[in-house]
């Protein structure tokens, strides 16, 4: 019963929660730059506006692929919030991203093709750590099952501090924050127009934005399972940590310039190896 409620709550509330977090993030980001920033509900105004714009499709398949991106992200999120298999959740998350890459490759814009290529490089950068992380959860708690992971005696982070540091890197890629916003950026003035979203207009782009909010909540949910255990106080702690991680991502976004793809790949793999691999090795020795 709890699973059904949390899945329905995720499906309905995630876009609103994601939009609100994004709204707060944009204000915080503006304050860091000494600006006033947009209204709190700006992300919702943007999405409503995009839905009222002309349906301007370069081909008929892009909307379908974008919808698949949204649906697969929602499915991945549902699996996490239902307490199902974390490994499967991460695989579905990757599948969702493949649909976005296909959507971007389906049009003829060179910028969007370039963005799709970069998105694939980003996937290569973050994928190893997500796999190591699920293995880490298995070693720490004896299960891939999210329901079991969050009902342990101690929080998983006690065994997986390195994984959390690595996951912080990965979250920057997934939330499209600088220095890893190679494929598309929320900021103006990118070197290749808008990357993967260059030829997405109106409703198609709105769907992509809604999907990003589902993804944002999913990523913060993954941060939360590092901290959840069977005690009630772990829930407020996990939410506080999620918000703190998001704040750190904004800070990082503001102090760093965009890196080249090679630096991204090398940086992420080194972090994966040092934080994730070492953490896993130690865990295997002590367990």
């Amino acid at each position: 019963m709890t699973e059904v409620i949390s899945v329905v709550a995720y499906l309905i509330l995630a876009p609103f929660a994601g939009g609100l977090i994004d709204g707060v993030g944009r204000i915080v980001s503006a304050r860091m730059q000494g600006r006033k920033g947009p209204p709190l509900l700006q992300p919702f105004y943007d999405i409503i506006k995009l839905f009222t714009k002309q349906m301007f499709a370069v081909n008929s398949v892009q909307l379908l692929l974008n919808l698949s991106y949204l649906i697969f992200l929602a499915v991945a999120g549902c699996m996490l919030f239902a307490g199902a298999d974390i490994l499967m959740c991460l695989f579905v998350l990757t599948t969702a991203d493949m649909f976005l890459i296909m959507a971007a490759s389906s049009d003829s814009s060179p910028f969007s093709t370039l963005g799709a290529g970069r998105e694939m490089i980003q996937m290569m950068a973050y994928e190893p750590l997500t796999l190591l992380m699920s293995v880490g959860f298995y070693l720490a708690t004896g299960s891939f099952h999210v329901g079991t992971i969050i009902s342990g005696e101690y929080s998983a982070v006690l065994f997986l501090p390195g994984m959390l540091v690595g996951f912080f890197f990965i979250t920057a890629i997934k939330l499209r924050k600088s220095p890893f916003d190679l494929s598309t950026s929320h900021h103006a003035h990118q070197e290749m127009v808008k990357g993967i979203t260059t030829e997405m207009a109106g409703p198609t782009f709105a769907i992509m934005n809604v999907a990003e909010y589902y993804e944002m909540v999913l990523m913060l949910g993954l941060v939360a399972i590092f901290f959840l255990n069977k005690n009630w106080w772990s829930w407020p702690l996990a939410i506080a940590v999620c918000l703190f991680v998001y704040f750190l991502e904004i800070l990082w976004d503001n102090v760093c310039g965009r890196v080249k793809w090679k630096t991204l790949l090398e940086g992420c793999w080194i972090v994966t190896l040092l934080c994730g691999g070492l953490n896993l090795l130690i865990l295997m020795l002590i367990r």
């Binding site: 944009r26 105004y45 506006k49 714009k53 103006a188 979203t197 997405m200 782009f205």
Partner: protein, 159 residues
């Protein structure tokens, strides 16, 4: 304010400006003027833009580019001509390669004169464009409903 007026996204294009107005347009995004407080984003993508800001007069080479950018913007959309060169051709009007203001190529909705146009004037022009944008959105929605109704009648006649 309406749906569009709360979230107008700008596209900035330099027709053949001396860059004076362009620097003023960029100044609008700085902490001093901060256009993002109106929900305005300076996007680089015509597919996602609602307002086209053009600086400088139109020359023979930029003509096709301006037309293409305008055609790539989804409806409803407005065009703001920033600076006297974009309004009329300005000091370059009689040059052999200048066609004149932006309105010689695409329809312009708001003219912001000045050499260079000050950031306050640009923001004022954009805010005036918002009212037009909202009106165009209502017209566009009515037009879309009209087309759908006509389609309904046509399909009814077929039966």
């Amino acid at each position: 304010m309406g749906k569009l007026a709360k979230s107008p996204w700008l596209l900035h294009y330099d027709g053949s400006s001396c860059n004076g107005c362009d620097i003023e347009v960029l100044a609008c995004t700085t902490p001093v003027y901060d256009i993002e407080r109106f929900g305005i984003i300076n996007t680089g993508d015509p597919f996602q833009a609602d307002i086209l800001l053009i600086t400088g007069g139109i020359n023979s080479q930029s003509e096709s580019v301006v037309k293409q950018i305008y055609s790539q913007m989804p409806n409803p959309k407005v065009v703001v001509a920033v600076g006297i060169c974009a309004c009329t051709g300005g000091i370059f009007k009689t040059c052999y390669n200048i066609k004149g203001g932006v309105d010689t190529v695409i329809p312009v909705d708001v003219y912001v004169p000045g050499c260079a146009a000050r950031p306050q004037a640009i923001i004022d022009g954009v805010v005036q464009a918002l009212a037009l944008l909202e009106q165009k959105r209502a017209d566009y929605a009515a037009q879309r409903r009209g087309v759908m109704q006509e389609g309904g009648i046509a399909s009814g006649a077929d039966q």
